[in-house]
């Protein structure tokens, strides 16, 4: 049985799902797959939260980072399965009679923003660490290949030469 604190946490999560679902049904006029959109958005946000926690643990060298970018898709698929089949598919979040409010909407947007900012801060710490390491040992990561010229570089060079 869930205690009161766990019930409140679930209610907050269900409110988040409710607002995402209503965004797709009301604003986007989605009739076919609003549930699928809801579970995808929820997976993206909670996935990045969990990933950020994992990255912090990796940064302080408590856990090792898996090599290969596609391995990250495995926990994402598992998380999507849990989110979709346990929380979203049955539309349990609609049974709470939640009402849309400006304060609620603001909090949901703030939560999404917080998720993005927290990830960027942690990722930047690691990027700085990698940048330092790459000075002494420039070629140690995966997928080594010759650097290609880029459109961005050309534009920046042109801007520098012109202005």
């Amino acid at each position: 049985m869930l205690n009161q604190k766990e019930i409140n946490t679930m209610k907050i999560y269900y409110y988040f799902l409710f607002r995402v679902y209503r965004f797709y049904t009301d604003k986007m006029k989605e009739t076919k797959i609003p549930v699928f959109y809801t579970s995808a958005v929820s997976t993206a946000v909670t996935g990045f939260n969990l990933f950020t926690i994992y990255l912090i643990l990796n940064y302080i060298e408590v856990v090792k980072m898996f090599s290969g970018k596609y391995l990250i898709l495995i926990p994402t698929v598992i998380l999507w399965g849990i989110t979709h089949f346990l929380f979203v598919r049955g539309k349990a979040f609609l049974k709470y009679d939640f009402k849309k409010s400006i304060k609620g909407g603001f909090l949901v947007v703030a939560y999404i923003m917080f998720t993005a900012i927290a990830f960027i801060i942690v990722a930047n710490l690691n990027r700085a660490k990698l940048a330092k390491g790459s000075i002494g040992n420039p070629v140690k990561n995966e997928q080594v290949q010759k650097k290609k010229p880029s459109l961005e570089g050309k534009i920046r060079n042109w801007l520098e030469e012109t202005f």
């Binding site: 076919k32 990250i72 999507w80 690691n126 990027r127 940048a131 650097k147 010229p149 880029s150 060079n157």
Partner: protein
Amino acid sequence: MGWEDEKKANSGGGISSGEVGNYFAGVGYVAGATGNNLAIIVGDRAKYGRANPKTIVRTAVINVEVSTKGLASTSTILKSAGVAAGLGGLTVKGYQFYHRQISWTEASFDAAFGAIGFFGPVGAGVIVLYFGSKFLYEYSTGETVFVKPEGN
């Protein structure tokens, strides 16, 4: 990482490994946009009553008569695949950003356009244009659109 570092990186040596994430997300967004457009076609046919069992899909090359029910199912599948691939693309981008395989600029652009992709048919159209152009540029010139970080 500042522009000076990126400029140095652009001068030679280093790694370019952000492309796969781009294409993965891009293909998903194209699927999603196609699904959205098919849904619009089916919706238009059913606007004034029950839709005909057959629908004519007009394209620049040929007009094709297909089952309306099949078209609706295909639309739903493509839209779902688009959302799933978009989610996968966003996750891979996050991994690449953390590991400094893509630059700040590229991550910002891709994340912004990736997020737009979750905003219905218009968003899907915009990102198809973005990822489509990016793919075509990189495929046809052999160059990348964005500078890759040094020493990665």
